[in-house]
Symmetry: C2
Subunit: 139 residues, 2 copies
DNA sequence: TTGACAGTGCGACTAAGTCGCATTAATCTT
DNA sequence: AAGATTAATGCGACTTAGTCGCACTGTCAA
């Protein structure tokens, strides 16, 4: 626990390692796809941590501001979060089975994104790229 | 009005040209950026059409299913709509002035999107690409 | 071990959208 | 032009996702 980089970051920032905080981080770690606040809350409760809805929301917001959780806002769905140590990627959402699949960053795509931004005279702080359709299984 | 392609499509489909429907289409036409349901409702009311909130939502959904309105779901914002006859494009959202700017489709970007989809074995029905940052004026 | 205060639980609140159902009005028929 | 048909509407109650203030509590450094 003391060698965990996220926990060290939190301690270094003067933040406490509370039950709720550790439960939420554990829930994010366990997840294989981005989770909504409600799902994270359910996961924490299932794991035996008694935390409140408001706490779950506040904690996720805090973890996002600390760079530990990454907000994932897929169009049409409610806000989700994933753990932030998996490198830059995007998502493909299956419209049939609802599965969310990671799409590794593609150099050409990222280059095109940069070029387009330059063309329209925009300073890009963040970008979103999502695919919606049918996954291998559902096709 | 009878030569309007959208109106002709609606008539051909056996749909009525109601006050609400025409008011919503007019609001979408007037808009220079994607509008939320609330904004469209306000625009209709300001134009003198007495329509209900539920009607505005239902009408927008209907127009989207008819291919006349295009849902624009920019991450973190509520669902918006724009008129559908402007060709494929994406959006750049200024985080300071909240302006939403159209970004014309870029051949290289679209090609990269297609290639990435193929790589992950995904049948893409729709894609999203958005830039978030600072516009020319706000930089 | 204890004081300070970051973090929590509670509950009331808001914003965005949905739904069922009785009524209205756009279009069709005659 | 009047009546019939039924798509579309208004109303209001409901849901879902998230926010907020405030009194209380648990973490941790001294
Ligand atoms: Zn699938
Ligand atoms: Zn990217
Ligand atoms: Zn701006
Ligand atoms: Zn595109």
């Amino acid at each position: 626990m003391d060698q965990d980089p996220f926990f060290r970051t939190l301690r270094a920032g003067g933040h406490r390692l509370t039950q709720a905080r550790m439960a939420v981080i554990a829930a994010l770690r366990k997840a294989s796809a981005p989770l909504s606040a409600a799902e994270i809350l359910a996961s924490c409760l299932a794991a035996g941590a008694r935390i409140d809805r408001a706490t779950a929301y506040r904690e996720l917001e805090f973890l996002a501001s600390s760079g530990i959780a990454l907000p994932v806002r897929l169009e049409g769905r409610s806000l989700r979060y994933e753990i932030s140590d998996r490198g830059h990627h995007h998502h493909a959402v299956c419209l049939k089975c609802e599965n969310i699949q990671e799409v590794k960053a593609d150099a050409a795509l990222e280059a095109a994104e940069t070029r387009v931004a330059k063309r329209v005279g925009f300073t890009v702080l963040r970008h979103a790229f999502e695919l919606f359709g049918l996954c291998k299984k559902c096709r």
